[in-house]
Assembly symmetry: C2
Homo-oligomer: 137 residues x 2
């Protein structure tokens, strides 16, 4: 699959920064924090990285989740998502030891029976504990 093409399809220019960030996100369906990617791409400008991630999110290329520490994380959208709604809303798992966040792709977020008067637009379902490698150690 051509990453440049994938990016351009959403109306964004396929710049080197975007292509390399997308390559990481696409290779591993984990939710990455800005700080993670800043470590990987040590020469990339902080602000550019923030904007790359926000642009990806706004065009539906990635989805956004808040982790246990209140930090925003971004994960590749396996299914193409429209700009407005992310079809693949699933449960995320956040490890308390290594702090990694995993997309549980085949575990859709349940729909809740919210009290009358409230209007639900989406949800953020986060389970925390120990991931595979950390519970083994």
């Amino acid at each position: 699959m051509d990453l440049s093409q994938h990016i351009r399809e959403r109306g964004l220019k396929a710049t080197p920064s975007r292509i390399s960030v997308m390559k990481v996100l696409e290779s591993d369906h984990r939710a990455y924090a800005h700080a993670d990617l800043e470590t990987i791409f040590s020469t990339m400008d902080r602000v550019t990285l923030y904007r790359v991630l926000n642009d990806f999110e706004e065009t539906g290329l990635v989805h956004k989740v808040i982790d246990m520490d209140g930090v925003t994380r971004f994960a590749y959208c396996k299914h193409s998502c429209p700009d407005t709604h992310h079809a693949d809303e699933h449960v995320h798992f956040n490890c308390q030891v290594c702090r990694k966040m995993f997309c549980l792709e085949n575990m859709p977020a349940p729909s809740f029976n919210i009290p009358k008067g409230f209007k639900a637009m989406g949800q953020n379902v986060l389970v925390f504990g120990l991931c595979k490698s950390c519970s083994a150690a």
Copy 2:
């Protein structure tokens, strides 16, 4: 109910700061951000307020949730919670307009069937959308 007594029962000193913060939290089972309380108690030191909230959380007087914006919020524990585990883990609702966060006390967080190898310790279940007053307006 005596708030001072309630605070002392958890091994904390019943100081004026703690009593007044607890009074607000206890009066309305909503999850308050540090910023909300700083507005209410404009003379209270920022750091003291952070420490009051963290102490309450560590002793099980309140529970902690992360909101849509990644901001930590604290809500009164209706049921007494042991230090380690909060028995009243329920769904929270975060309004996208007024940003208020509501405890849906009678909606327990579901237990998820996490993949083999992962060890779940707890969850943060957040539904967002429009609250009663904001969807009416």
